[in-house]
């Protein structure tokens, strides 16, 4: 809640350092060294694509994990005094797991598009770079969507477990909220498939 002195100090120091470095470059006429174009060209398309895969899988799994622990603990706690909720509420956990599976699928699909290339002409190289960026974008979109989807499904599932423990007619209604929540992960999957579909690194 309160930003500590350490956080503010660190932030201030890094901003100060950046401003100092930037001014040094600019005022000593070395401003051309700060070359974003060179930076982007120097990173190989393989790097972009593979980082995309990493983001797709890891962020999806992170979302699913946050969701599963949020729900699982509430099912445990609520199941002590109301044992009937234990089996029905595993549906929430399955929906969180589905989020991780989306990430897995996209990881496999994206990695299927990666292959070696030996192009040298600038027109061909541009296509390879395009593929790299598309695969990175695909991975990022599915990863972030699944992260928030997993968290959302988990928190709603926690509420569903506790409400079910009090009144069993509430479970199905809160499940409908969870279904809407898991639909947003599906959106990420769809957009990601569209992004990665046209990209091929092969020659």
């Amino acid at each position: 809640m309160g930003t500590s002195y350490l956080t503010i100090g660190g932030l201030g120091a890094s901003v100060g350092l950046l401003i100092y470095a930037g001014l040094t470059y600019m005022l000593t006429n070395y401003g051309f060294r700060f070359d974003i174009g060179w930076f982007l060209l120097a990173i190989s398309p393989y790097q972009w694509a593979l980082v995309g895969i990493a983001l797709a899988v890891s962020l999806s799994v992170l979302g699913a994990a946050l969701g599963i622990f949020a729900t699982g603990v509430s099912i445990l706690g609520g199941g002590v005094k109301a044992p009937r909720i234990r089996t029905k509420n595993l549906i929430s956990i399955i929906m969180c797991e589905a989020v991780a599976i989306y990430g897995l699928i996209m990881g496999i699909v994206i990695s299927g598009s990666i292959s070696s290339f030996s192009a040298t002409r600038i027109e061909d190289l541009a296509l390879k770079y395009r593929a790299g960026y598309k695969l990175f974008g695909a991975g990022l979109s599915v990863g972030l969507c699944n992260l928030f989807c997993g968290v959302c499904v988990g928190l709603v599932g926690s509420g569903a477990a506790l409400a079910d423990a009090q009144n069993s007619s509430l479970f199905v209604r809160i499940l409908i909220i969870e279904i809407f929540a898991s639909a947003i992960g599906l959106f990420g999957l769809i957009v990601s498939i569209l992004q990665s579909s046209g990209s091929n690194m092969a020659d």
């Binding site: 809640m1 622990f69 949020a70 005094k81 477990a161």
Partner: protein, 349 residues
């Protein structure tokens, strides 16, 4: 964000468990059954079908209300201890704070008992189990508050609350009540600050509840001190400052000298105006204490409407205590065959 995302990591199980306990609180239908009991044996039979189960199974008949009181308290303490055992920080510190109030009650009980020349063996079983600490038995050796502090209380968690109470006067009847009020004031303000530091939903829920508790103390101290020898300044030192009444209402309360004047002070605050309007001093009306109990139950029930905060643990304990008071009230009415006011329990659900 921190509340929602990471609360369940450490406290999800305890919360689920606490909500499970809360669902065992007696409903209106249960009270309806209890009120129609003719004897305490009927009461025991009806309580068996609720969440209480066979807690009175091993008691010999004839049953007395004192025995029922002890068993009810034992069950509540058992549940609370279990919650304390499965909790992590900062929930464990929060639950410890709740027990400090009972420690204060126990200390005052022991001191008063010693003043009336009761043996320590009689007094210790009457202490509340939630407020027990190791040095509890050693309280009776002290004569003045200064001695009490240096000999016994300096190692307990209550030590910081005692700063205002230390004096060389002997412990006598009036003094002991003043000590209780001073300790409780310091404790309430400390608890309020702790909850505020926790932040998030816990702060929102708990600060509301504790502010009402502080104001209720101020009102009750004022009303109860009208015929005693307590001066206005001494009284003002006992008002907790963490409520809505601080600072203007407390200043005005200081100057009041009758129940009607207190009601006029309360009229400045909409929620307290309603409470005072519903109460009266005639025999058929609800007293202001009853209205305060009802308001407290309402605030505690509202705490359960939000998820991912510590307020439900405090609220659960208070609701359970209120339920125990209700059952004992019904039990007393049945035992004394004086059923006219048996419906004066505070309904929770």
């Amino acid at each position: 964000m921190k509340d929602d995302l990471y609360f369940n990591l450490d406290h999800g199980y305890a919360e689920g468990l606490c909500r499970g306990f809360k669902s065992g609180i007696l409903k209106a239908a249960d009270y309806h059954n209890l009120v129609q009991c003719e004897t305490l044996e009927d009461l025991r039979l009806h309580l068996q079908s609720t969440d209480y189960g066979n807690f009175l199974a091993n008691e010999a008949s004839p049953l007395t209300v004192n025995v029922i009181d002890d068993r009810l308290r034992e069950k509540t303490v058992q549940e609370f201890q279990h919650l304390r055992n499965v909790s992590y920080e900062p929930l464990s510190t929060f639950l410890d704070y709740i027990t400090y109030a009972y420690m204060i009650d126990n200390i005052v009980l022991l001191i008063t008992g010693t003043l009336h020349q009761r043996a320590i063996g009689d007094l210790l079983p009457r202490c509340h189990p939630l407020g027990s600490f190791e040095q509890l038995g050693a309280i009776t050796v002290a004569d003045t508050p200064a001695q009490l502090y240096t000999a016994v209380l300096v190692d307990t968690p209550l030590a910081p609350y005692f700063i205002d109470c230390i004096s060389e006067h002997d412990l006598d009847e009036l003094n002991v009540e003043i000590i209780r009020s001073t300790l409780y004031k310091a404790y309430l303000e400390d608890f309020y600050n702790f909850c505020e530091k926790l932040g998030g939903i816990t702060a929102e829920v708990m600060c509301e509840i504790l502010a009402f508790e502080a104001d209720r103390r101020a009102f009750m101290i004022t009303i109860n001190s009208f015929d005693t020898g307590l001066t206005q300044d001494e009284r003002a030192k006992l008002y907790p400052t963490c409520g809505h009444l601080h600072p203007d209402g407390l200043q005005e309360l200081r100057r009041t000298d009758s129940y009607d004047a207190v009601r006029d002070v309360a009229a400045h605050y909409p929620q307290y105006k309603l409470l005072f309007e519903g109460a009266g001093t005639n025999t058929g009306d609800k007293t202001i204490e009853d209205k305060f109990f009802e308001h407290e139950v309402k605030l505690n029930m509202n705490a359960f409407l939000r998820q991912f905060h510590f307020g439900i643990f405090y609220a659960y304990l208070k609701l359970k205590e209120q339920e125990n008071r209700n059952i004992i009230w019904i039990g007393e009415c049945i035992a004394q065959k004086h059923r006219a006011r048996i419906d004066n329990y505070v309904p929770i659900f």
